[in-house]
Amino acid sequence: MELNVNGHPRQVDVEADAPLLWVIRDELNLTGTKFGCGVGACGACTVHVNGKPMRSCVLPVSAVVDAKITTIEGIGAEVLSAVQAAWILHQVPQCGYCQSGVIMAVSALLAGNPAPTEDELGTLVSNICRCGTYTRMRAAVSALAAKASPAAGVRT
């Protein structure tokens, strides 16, 4: 079957119910998307499907054949995205393993809501970071929100 990943058509020979996560990692060798739980609970495998954040470990590949799939490798390939730059500025990652998924979730959220409240952020970015970098995620998103909408940057 054919998939559209990061703007390129890719042929894969896999079962219809193969999880998108493993197709991305093992068939396409895009290893920036991570395996964390396999049950859609931690968000390490988050990718964009037609711009929406989806947990790829529980998504059968057959469900996304006609969709545009974007992985962490597909954002900021040439120039870092604003979220990635903010992640560096605020020194968010520690081990970094969960951060691909977090950055994908945050990017999707900010695309539709450039200045989320703290509650919106907490509800819509429910990824697990075992290193506990949440306070820095908040600071980075708050700075991005302030840039997008100066009046909204301090909403809590």
Binding site: K34, G36, I88, Q91, C95, G96, R130, T133, Y134, R138
Partner: protein, 746 residues
């Protein structure tokens, strides 16, 4: 003799051996270092320090990157002593070779045990060029990252010494060129500068000549007052590759022809594999092999999800090893029985010890903590390739590259030089990848040996990772105290269960004239191991809960009560005051703008561990129907000096969240001999929505450098449970908090 476990974990029992002299390579070893780890144009000047023709200084670091920022901090320490320009420095992971065994770790540990610092070692013992510390590290294959030790041992006893020695060698080479005295030169911005003439040489142009001098084992070190890089926040060097998916962790290794293995380990601890019905997966696509081991079965396939599905479908039968009746309730009973019915020897006492309890009013309390999993985000995994000619190549994240290589060699019954080990960055570790916790390496090596010539990547599913961890132990602790008329303790007696030996981590910093401590061993089939902050993760909760209970018993403010018991400990007092002050201790819990919530209050806790003093104040709110909200954690830390203050703060913040997950809902339970939790839905961890505001305040003192990775964890739980008591009158003596109803009137 120093035991490997004690070195690895920085335990506090007396070592009995004094090891001195930093291990600088004699010149013969430099050549071997160059062959192993120098690229064209680079050469080693001293242990761990390479300088290239283009001035680039590379520090070869005998640690793993598991996210704690130590590569940046250690590079700062090296650049500081060398006088290198920050932009011209690089860090590399040391090869897992005995030549790069971490002697500084052993030396730091041994000196610490003897109550000495490097400077207090008598002069006549200082000259040893090839020191015992390094010999021991090689002998024990040590390259460990753990015990919050990288900066305070590798950095203090190793990297900065090697860098200072290299600086002296560069200066010697410049002095020889100009035929001028050594003391007329200094280094700055990766140049050696002749002060009188202003003439300068680049590091790169001196490096080859400098490498011909012998590094001093006791070079002059910069005083703290001259530091320009150490003590400054510098962005971490590993972060850019962690925002675009570029960092390759162990799980990301790709080897041509690689196959994937999924594993099913006996669900009951100690159980053996009895039978496997391979017909149950006969029709599955891509299956390469079913490998039967003593206590597990692996399915190898051409893709991981195929291997995983087949492993899930595979009919397999395991024995119960007589452990089918093991349960959390039963283990809890055994801990209580051990404390109540076995004679307990007090192995450490102060003053009159337990005798001081007699004939005085006493308070007795019992506390308990459960088993906990590490649950790093990258499930444990390893890739291995065994060749029929008897060589083995392994790729994995580990907290000890050299130790892992030796372990893989032993598993495969090969010599060390037949094994290549590629140390990969770890997607979290928290103790899970330390020596003794290497089931993932053992299984991967066995998988590779069953398929000679084929690389095999073994990945534990989250379920296998969670159910076959080496858990933070279940521990029960009992306290008895006798109180003076003013409510302060006259006697403090603490008896606790242990999986190992007695724990110096139980000993209190508070000024109590009579103290006694005793441990009673409880053996269970549950595998246990070090978990971020190790013994402090339980004794911190026990001690800080009990002291809080004593304060309330004495009807005294918990802050003021602790203060009264720390009169002779100015560093502890300062940390206590700062945390209390920043948290607004004593003030109304909410701002004037917000309505005053009736069940909102603060709790305080202090733990000193890994050379660092940490005080935390938690502010919590409990609704009438029992919902708990942790609003804020305010933290004061005295670590002597933070090499990279923002990086240090990040570690404390992360350690607080780690402790918070454990305090609120962390619990591994057993039923019928197996772990009940399967995955994150029933092993919940703190997420963004539950994360309180966290403030970290660093205190600079002149104390030796303290650790950064672990000390933030232990005070969280008691700060929260003490706050819950202040808010509700409910005293939580058994973690996690979620086990107890906090409903009003409950």
């Amino acid at each position: 003799m120093i035991s490997r476990r004690k070195v690895l974990l920085g335990g506090a029992a007396a070592a009995g051996t004094l090891v001195v002299g930093y291990a600088l390579w004699p010149s013969g070893r430099i050549g071997r270092g160059d062959r192993l780890a120098a690229k064209p144009g680079e050469r080693f000047l001293a242990y761990w320090i390479k300088i290239a023709d283009d001035d680039i200084v590379t520090v070869v670091i005998p640690h793993c990157d598991m996210g704690t920022g130590i590569f940046t901090a250690l590079l700062q320490m090296a650049a500081e002593e060398l006088g290198a320009h920050w932009d011209k420095t690089r860090a590399e992971t040391a090869p897992p070779d005995p030549l790069f065994a971490n002697g500084a770790l052993v030396e730091g540990f041994a000196l610490g045990q003897a109550g000495m610092t490097r400077d207090s070692v008598p002069a006549f013992l200082q000259g040893s060029v090839f020191a015992a510390g390094n010999r021991l590290a090689q002998f024990m294959d040590i390259q460990v990252t753990g015990g919050s030790s990288a900066v305070r041992t590798t950095g203090v006893y190793g990297v900065r010494i090697a860098a200072a020695a290299a600086r002296e060698m560069l200066i010697a080479a410049a002095a020889d060129r100009l035929k001028a005295p050594l003391k007329t030169f200094y280094t700055e911005s990766s140049q050696v500068i002749h002060r009188p003439s202003g003439q300068s040489f680049r590091f790169g142009e001196l490096a080859a000549a400098a490498a011909r001098y012998n590094p001093s084992s006791h070079p002059a070190l910069k005083p703290r007052s001259d530091y320009t890089l150490v003590g400054r926040t510098i962005p971490r060097i590993d972060i850019p590759a962690k925002v675009n998916g570029a960092t390759q962790y162990g799980i990301d290794v790709q080897v041509p022809g690689m196959q994937y293995a999924a594993i099913k380990i006996s669900p009951i601890f100690g159980g053996k594999l009895i039978s496997v019905n391979e017909a149950s997966i006969a029709g599955n696509r891509g299956i390469k092999k079913v490998i039967k081991l003593d206590d597990a079965v692996m399915v190898v396939a051409d893709r991981f999800w195929r291997a995983q599905r087949a492993a899930d479908m595979l009919d397999s039968v395991f024995s119960d090893a007589g452990n089918a009746a093991v349960s959390s309730a039963g283990i809890r009973e055994r801990h209580l029985e051990a404390l109540n019915q076995q004679p307990i020897k007090h192995e450490f006492s102060v003053g009159a010890g337990a005798k001081a309890l007699q004939n005085q009013a006493s308070l007795e309390r019992m506390y308990q903590v459960p088993y906990l999993a590490h649950a790093a985000m990258e499930p444990v995994n390893a890739t291995a390739l065994y060749q029929a000619d008897g060589t083995l190549e392994v790729w994995a994240g580990s907290q000890d590259g050299l130790g892992s290589r030796a372990f893989c060699a032993k598993t495969a019954k090969l010599h060390l030089d037949q094994v290549t080990f590629h140390l990969m960055p770890s997607g979290g570790a928290f103790g899970r990848r330390l020596p003794g916790l290497w089931n993932f390496l053992a299984y991967a090596v066995q998988a590779a040996m069953a398929l000679p010539g084929i690389p095999v990547k073994l990945i534990f599913t989250r379920e296998q990772d969670l159910r076959h961890d080496y858990y933070r132990p279940n521990v029960t602790s009992r306290f008895k105290a006798a109180l003076n008329a003013d409510g302060t303790p006259a006697a403090w007696v603490n008896e606790y269960t242990t999986d190992d030996g007695s724990n110096a981590e139980a000993h209190i910093v508070y000024d109590v004239p009579n103290q006694a401590y005793g441990a009673v061993k409880v053996v269970t089939p549950v595998p246990v191991g070090p978990w971020r902050s190790v013994e402090f993760s339980w004794h911190g909760f026990f001690v800080e809960s009990f002291i809080d209970e004593l304060a309330h018993e004495a009807k005294r403010d918990p802050l003021e009560y602790r203060r009264a018991l720390l009169k002779h400990k100015p560093r502890h007092l300062a940390a206590l005051e700062l945390a209390a002050d920043k948290a607004g201790w004593g003030a109304a819990p909410v701002s004037a703008a917000a309505p005053l919530a009736p069940r909102r209050a603060r709790g305080i806790a202090m733990v000193e561990c890994f050379g660092t003093i940490v005080v935390q104040v938690a502010e919590v709110e409990v609704s009438d129907d029992g919902a708990l909200k942790v609003h804020r954690i305010t933290c004061a830390v005295d670590c002597g000096m933070a090499v990279n203050p923002d990086g240090f703060k990040a570690q404390i913040e992360g350690a607080i969240v780690f402790g918070l997950s454990a305090a609120l809902y962390g619990e591994i339970t057993l039923d019928h001999g197996a772990v009940e939790q399967q995955n994150f839905p029933n092993y919940p961890l703190v997420r963004l929505a539950d994360c309180p505001a966290i403030e970290v305040h660093i205190i600079e003192s002149d104390a030796p450098l303290g650790g950064g990775g672990e000390p933030g964890t232990p005070p969280v739980a008691p700060a929260i449970t003490n706050a819950i008591f202040a808010a509700t009158g409910i005293r939580i003596r058994e973690l996690p908090v979620s086990k107890r109803s906090l409903k009003k009137g409950a």
